[in-house]
């Protein structure tokens, strides 16, 4: 069976990382920015799993790290959404441009 080489997978994960970064810097909607951060975390997950499977298959350290990242990303998203909901109550908007009370 022809295996996909590691470099292809790393290309996908790096692309995902930079797509996430681009989304975080250009999007103005807080929920979309949060989704971009999740993309970054998922690219990290792909990295860990791929490295573990291809290079260090005798130990499962990478896979375990992935499990922890998934759990923590969920916790982070929960807190972030709670904060965004509270912000929405105060500002009636989830556009980051609306949250401009403090500058310089």
């Amino acid at each position: 069976m022809n295996q996909v080489p590691l470099s292809h997978i790393l290309f996908v994960s790096t692309a995902l990382f930079f797509i996430g970064m681009y989304g975080l810097f250009t999007r103005r909607n807080m929920i979309t920015m949060l989704m971009s951060v999740e993309l970054i975390l998922n690219s990290v997950n792909i990295n860990f799993v791929a490295f573990n499977r291809y290079l260090y298959a005798d130990k499962l350290e990478g896979v375990f790290f992935t499990l922890f990242i998934v759990a923590i990303a969920a916790a982070e998203a929960a807190v972030a959404i709670a904060i965004i909901i509270n912000l929405y109550r105060n500002l009636h908007s989830i556009d980051v441009e609306a949250a401009d009370e403090m500058k310089f």
Binding site: V37, F65, E76, N90, E101
Partner: protein, 470 residues
């Protein structure tokens, strides 16, 4: 066996016990008065502080995940002392707050996260500790639920900290790919300075730089500091920053030691940028919280200058400076916090004529600011002196000269506050305020630390005897 594990984990376990106790109090049927809960937490934190002085042997637990030795116990004790001071200062704010219990649950979770983070011997443990501290901290910064500024600060904080942990994690995953392990000791043996490892290192470094608000990554700092409740701001600026510096210097000096030539130049650049930018932005601030935010960015630059020393003195001077910084910064934040909760006034103009009505608060503020600026009789001078001496060990005197010049710039904005307090007057000065007992104790501890610490040479010697070499 079990006794050994429990004794090695005594500081973390006691913090965990306090958290669970508060949870049970919260969900239990019995209603306690807020004062009782506050006194209980303060007492238990004091017990934890005392436990830190009890020496127990060094050990490595959980397959190398968790390290403990005298230096780490001392660092945790410094953080614990800072948290205790903040908790005492927050007494008058929390006394009438409905959610004081939740405040402490979140605050102590972050403290436990920092404890695990600085004890970690493994990248997984390090990441878990970091997130255990970051996520509750973002929730804390939005603790004034009705205030727009507070929720805006929390939003900025969680998005930027999620992004920074993304960067850090990407670096960790590449490092794992390059070395095949997560353990700090084995990574150090397998680093060879190839371009791939260097890229991973730079990503990890930028993750750290976010947390310590070094300059290209400092943009969240001022807004988060201004918007958060002031107790949380004080916690962010000393405990959070101090803990990240502790683990940062450990990883640089042990894990990334093979790359010392590379990170030395990066750190010098970061340090100069951080000091200059922090100081220049602090010059034009009129709100005290923002001024202290930029001053804390500038102080990070000085700490980075100490780290570049890459010697035993570098480690010792950073730990000593953070100890001094806790006293001086919490002194200043304590005064601002106290006046802000009592009167709601926070700008420098509001402080005009403070000396006439509140001489004690004025002197605490003045001494803290002198210590932050590094004026000789105070401890801050010795802290900065040791940092710059450690930095000068590498022989890069231009860099140390720039750092020394920055101390002069910083004098301007610190003295501006002192001038407003002592020399200026205004039609409606802040009225005479009565300081309750617990904040008073906290102020006296800070004052004692600032005045006496510099004169007690054995403190630095003791830290030096424990520090890690290079």
């Amino acid at each position: 066996m079990w006794a050994d594990t429990i004794l090695s984990l005594r500081q973390e376990l006691l913090v965990a016990v306090i958290i669970f106790l508060l949870l049970f109090i919260k969900v239990g049927a019995a209603a306690y008065r807020t004062e009782v809960i506050l006194h209980l937490v303060n007492l238990l934190l004091l017990v934890n502080f005392a436990l830190g002085f009890w020496e127990y042997r060094d050990s490595i637990l959980f397959n190398g995940m968790f390290h403990t030795n005298k230096l780490l116990v001392l660092e945790k004790n410094i953080l614990n002392l800072g948290t205790l001071i903040i908790s005492l200062q927050a007494y008058s704010w929390l006394k009438d707050h409905r959610q004081a219990t939740e405040f402490y649950i979140l605050l102590l979770s972050t403290l436990m996260g920092f404890f695990f983070m600085i004890s970690s011997g493994n990248l997984l443990m390090f990441y878990l500790g970091l997130e255990l501290s970051t996520i509750p901290l973002t929730a804390l910064s939005s603790f004034d639920l009705e205030k727009r500024q507070s929720s805006e600060a929390a939003m900025k904080f969680i998005l930027s900290s999620a992004f920074s942990s993304g960067l850090l994690l990407f670096g960790i995953s590449l490092l794992y790919g390059a070395t095949g392990t997560l353990s700090f000791d084995i990574i150090a043996q397998r680093l060879d300075g190839s371009a791939f490892q260097l890229f991973a290192f730079i990503l990890i470094l930028s993750g750290f730089a976010f947390k310590i608000s070094a300059v290209p990554f400092h943009l969240w700092t001022a807004d988060v500091y201004e918007g958060s409740p002031i107790t949380v701001t004080a916690y962010l600026s000393v405990i959070s920053k101090g803990a990240v510096f502790f683990i940062f210097i450990q990883t640089l000096y042990t894990v990334f030691k093979p790359m010392a030539g590379n990170w030395y130049r990066i750190l010098v650049l970061l340090s100069v940028l951080t000091m200059v930018t922090g100081n220049l932005f602090a010059l034009r601030q009129n709100k005290l919280k923002r001024l202290l935010a930029f001053s804390s960015i500038a102080q990070s630059g000085f700490i980075l200058a100490g780290i570049t020393g890459s010697s035993r003195a570098g480690d010792a001077s950073v730990i000593y400076f953070i100890l001094v910084y806790i006293f001086s910064n919490l002194g200043a934040f304590g005064v601002v916090s106290f006046i802000s909760t009592q009167t709601g006034r926070e700008s420098i103009d509001d402080y005009k004529g403070l000396y006439a009505t509140n001489p004690l608060l004025s002197w605490i503020m003045a001494l803290s600011l002198f210590s932050l600026a590094g004026i000789p009789p105070t401890a801050g001078f010795f802290g900065k002196f040791f940092l710059l001496m450690a930095g000068a060990g590498k022989g890069n005197y231009v860099f140390i000269g720039i750092a020394a010049l920055n101390m002069v710039i910083s004098l301007y904005y610190y003295l501006r506050v002192i001038k407003a307090i002592f020399m200026d007057s205004q039609p409606q000065p802040i009225g005479k305020l009565k300081i309750p007992l617990l904040p008073n104790i906290a102020f006296l501890v800070c004052l004692g630390g600032i005045v006496v610490m510099g004169l007690m040479g054995w403190v630095y010697d003791y830290i030096y005897s424990l520090s890690i070499g290079f």
